[in-house]
Point group: C2
Chain length 441, copies 2
């Protein structure tokens, strides 16, 4: 059976409902029935229908009916110079789960120009412990359910969705193409936000962004639900995802209790909303040029501790495009007078001056590699690498790659297994005592 | 015209729609039409209809259809000892705007036993730059719109709503009564969360909680949208809202640009979700006894800076119930061996050892007042008081109150005006420079 007869049938019914509305006196009823007619038409035609007409120019007028008054106030208050610039920006969100869906909603409510959403999962009732999705969306694809809600929330935002896994070869090419041509003017997009929950997808985002010289931000939440982080990655300037094991925020939980047979990861709407909030705030600062774009913000919910960090790129990174970007950055930098980045603020933990990956405090104009083996405790307090790094051989970037690739593949396999050990107790022995004391409330 | 004929009419139409569904082949259509029939019935009868049946006991089973699997995993992972205890808890949320609505949604998705919501505002399109409310809810009262959504999200949560302003005398009495008898067993509730946006409402919550010896948490976001905080208040043990001017997180924005004629406050979904996330995480830690319940967490979004702080109660506080709670706490404490609270963690900024209000580092068993006049820079780095404190006279708690009350009223008027000056540039001159550098991205 085709969809046509049903469309007709529902249109008939809704037109009769519309007549019924005319006979109603209460405005409240008009209002809600009106919406549900709209919803019915929309669901049958499987096309989201916006709630209001598009707005051509943002207004700062302080009236209840203006969805942008509180955002345009950022201008008058001196926070943002030109808020309306946000309408020209395109952001890709990879993964619209517990973090990504909230990220997409925040950007939509902020009036971003265009969102490109990537995911291949379906909404499940098991996801209802996080914000955004509603139980009646269970069974729908996440990107379509998200689009449906977002267009309703703000029809001014252009939403493009891709219901596929970016890690397969064809889809990866499409993904790269959308980074290159996905903007509102069919040019390069402004930012990629990674909100995925696995290593392979992060590596795919990393590879695509290194290839396209695309700035992106990574986010993550721990499997015990009580820590998370965001990270800003600018190819050639900061460590890429392949440069070093990714940093995670340490918790005081024994990792041996995690990932047992049949134990699913925990998640909390709080941690996910906080990480989404950090990510979109960093995005707004980046897109609209205000405040300080953070390189890394961690969140340890058990202690309300927020480690910050910066990592320089690894001159022996295995991603060939990362090495190209590093060269480009070095030559660009050498024509500048001073290094304005990587200045630590007073709040930032001090990074130790040397470590095993040759990635910190090397003179940026002259990459240096070392073979020292040290522990990951060299990173800032409260942070640890997601897995222990494998010892790197010192080798020139010009070395032959075939044998190396085989070795790297084996290493990557090992790393993928090690990745399961995401969390470890290395931060605060005293916190455990504190927890006990807190229980006396 | 009564509602009955419309009910009948819609029931008729929906029954015919139901028959049409039987003729459809695609499951997706069945699903969405089915939901909209449900919605139509619900909206016409003006009663929220839950999406699923109630669940009598939380299960940790890892299946897509279990809304609690990811929460119960907190137990298996050793974070929470008995997650299901959350079902016995009752939390009041005062103010369901940009922060409070997200707080209510988080607690609902976490499966809290009961929520009591207080607000007297209506949903406006101008609120659509924050999470939670949908544009089609514009015009509805916030508490009713919230209940409608929350019952749909999780019917296991009991939702009680009060569409009134707690600061009027009658409503205040009702509010106090709900604190005293609002729990699932008609006893005292477990926690009050203040998510209001004005001084008077905070003072009303403070007064009620001091009277009822009720632990509460306060939250706030700045009028320039880029900072916020949460604060834990335990009567007699920590400073109450009347003890000292409330702390706010400093930003580097000149306050003279704020609150000009006709300029409305700015707001961002990011800041509000972060503050809501902090507040509900602190709530979960408090209710379920895990991690460290924070006394104060600030959020400066421009610099991703998170000041922490603790304030002891003021022995000359003007709230008479606060003084009673302080006495109770002192006598209870004197029978204990050591003070387990107010230990600063390494991450917490050091609090200066003396200041003008005699509230810090006094020997708790022997309150001391001073008349020294100092600046608010005595509080932890990055924090400032919402307004400059008025010089306090040293007077015994037994002093006559009539003249004092008149003076206090005048003072309060002055403070209310001073409160408008919420934000001030006193933190980081260097940050302004950094902002400029960031713009070079």
């Amino acid at each position: 059976m085709t969809e046509q007869p049903v469309d007709k049938y529902v249109e008939d019914l809704t037109s009769r409902l519309e007549k019924a509305i005319d006979n109603l006196s209460g405005q409240k009823h008009d209002h809600s029935i009106d919406n549900h007619i709209r919803d019915s038409q929309r669901s049958v035609k499987n096309q989201p229908v916006p709630y209001r007409e598009k707005i051509s120019k943002l207004s700062a007028e302080v009236v209840d009916s203006n969805p942008y008054s509180r955002l345009m106030a950022l201008q008058r208050m001196g926070i943002v110079q030109d808020y309306e610039k946000i309408r020209e920006k395109t952001v890709a969100v990879v993964g619209v789960g517990g973090v990504g869906s909230v990220v997409a909603e925040m950007l939509t409510r902020c009036g971003i120009g265009k969102l490109i959403l990537f995911d291949y999962d379906k909404v499940e009732i098991a996801n209802m412990n996080r914000l955004f999705y509603q139980p009646d969306q269970a069974g729908l694809s996440k990107v379509e359910a998200a689009r449906d809600t977002l267009i309703h929330v703000n029809p001014d935002v252009q939403i493009e969705v891709h219901n596929f896994n970016i890690t397969t070869m064809d889809n990866f090419d499409t993904f790269v193409g959308r980074i290159r041509n996905g903007s509102l003017t069919n040019g390069k997009i402004d930012l990629v936000l990674s909100c995925v929950d696995n290593f392979e997808a992060r590596m795919a985002v990393n590879m695509a962004c290194n290839e396209e010289n695309q700035i992106w931000m990574e986010s993550g939440v721990s499997e015990n639900a009580v820590s998370g982080h965001i990270q800003y990655i600018e190819p050639g300037k900061t460590a890429c995802f392949a440069c070093v094991p990714p940093l995670v925020v340490a918790s005081n939980i024994d990792e041996r209790t995690l990932k047992r047979e049949g134990v699913c990861a925990a998640s909390l709407p709080t941690t996910m909303a906080v990480v989404a909030g950090f990510l979109v705030m960093n995005t707004l600062k980046f897109l609209l040029h205000f405040g300080e774009v953070s390189h890394y913000v961690g969140y340890n919910a058990l202690a309300d501790f927020f480690p910050r960090h910066s990592i320089k790129p690894n001159p022996t990174c295995e991603d060939s495009h990362c090495l190209i970007r590093q060269k480009e950055y070095q030559s660009k930098k050498s024509s500048e007078t001073i290094d304005i980045d990587f200045q630590t603020t007073e709040e930032e933990p001090i990074v130790h001056e040397d470590n095993e990956w040759g990635i910190e405090l090397v003179d940026e104009s002259e990459p240096v590699t070392t073979t020292d083996e040290k522990t990951s405790s060299d990173v800032a307090e409260g942070l640890k690498f997601a897995y222990e790094p494998v010892k790197k051989e010192v080798e020139s970037k010009e070395a032959g790659n075939t044998d190396r690739e085989t070795a790297e593949n084996a290493k990557n396999d090992a790393l993928l297994k090690l990745k399961d050990i995401l969390l470890e107790a290395d931060m605060m022995k005293k916190m455990e005592e504190k927890n006990q004391l807190t229980k006396k409330h």
